[in-house]
Subunit: 187 residues, 2 copies
């Protein structure tokens, strides 16, 4: 019985499996549309194990988003390490990379659409989006201090989020197009 923070590296193998499976289900079908029975069955695990490891469905949802943020952030930083200015475009690349294997848009926006603002996971969503925009602004400030980083970052952020939000509805071409708009704005 651990279920406090759910640091993915301290998870038991079964728990990690539960987190992986539930992440996929939550993303593909939506959070409310997936029950704990389904998650346990698909993970090849008892419901008891799920509750012993995560404590509640809400906590599992929080773990899902926390882990998603951590994973996403890591691949962003890796890409940034090898990027050349304007590095802000790397954000678009990571999103586009994501979009190659997914079809339901942004996991965080989708979760925000379903959850009450009082849900423990909602703060994670806010923090994630805030972090993205902050990183964007930081990169612009470093690469192009001449521009107005705050305004430019916000403009790019809106393009990014608009494209990602519509990935499921409109198709994935939007992201590369958004990148192109961003590229011109940065030039």
């Amino acid at each position: 019985m651990q279920h406090e923070v759910a640091n993915i590296h301290r998870l038991t193998p079964r728990a990690r499996r539960i987190l992986e499976v539930s992440s996929e289900l939550f993303y593909d079908r939506g959070i409310h549309a997936v029950g704990v029975d389904t998650i346990a069955a698909e993970s090849g695990v008892t419901k008891r194990t799920l509750y012993n490891n995560f404590g509640s469905k809400d906590a599992l949802v929080a773990a899902y988003l926390t882990n998603r943020h951590a994973t996403w952030w890591q691949s962003l930083e890796e890409r940034l390490a090898a990027a050349e200015p304007p590095r802000a475009l790397a954000l678009f690349d990571v999103y586009a990379e994501d979009a190659r294997t997914t079809t339901r848009g942004c996991a965080f926006l989708n979760a925000a659409a379903e959850l009450s603002t009082e849900h423990p996971a909602y703060a994670i969503i806010r923090n994630h989006k805030q972090a993205v925009e902050d990183r964007l602004r930081g990169l612009i400030a470093e690469d192009q201090p001449a521009a107005d980083p705050r305004r430019l970052a916000r403009h790019l952020f809106l393009l990014l989020e608009g494209a990602f939000a519509h990935q499921g509805i409109h198709g994935k071409g939007l992201l590369t197009e958004a990148r192109e708009f961003a590229r011109k704005l940065l030039a």
Copy 2:
């Protein structure tokens, strides 16, 4: 027993009440989070009446989005009738108007996040968003034929949707900021 098209003007008074109440609940709390019992109770109506009028919850959801689109479109056209070029900005104004009384972002994006793509309402969502972008492109083509209407429309569309998608998370200031970006792009 009608429950086929749900043209709002042919709705019985009770049915209209059900549609109003369910629309508010669906938008505020999410579709899966609201049960038919709650809707019936809050409408001051029996569950039987709900089913006699709409046939199923899915159909009620479809009616919710259909009606929302119709209402929104009408207020858009009214605003456009009194607008002066660049009229594309009127789209931002209608969204911003919406945002003054709501706090959970775009009803269509939120619904898309919850529903399967096979859900009868999903097509309504696609059509709505497509209509918005098409209208945007048409306005730009008429007001500024010199520009590339398709590209410009898409750029504005992304700004619009990015801002609206983040209304619930980030606050409503984003929409006016998006409008400002759009205004400069149109100049």
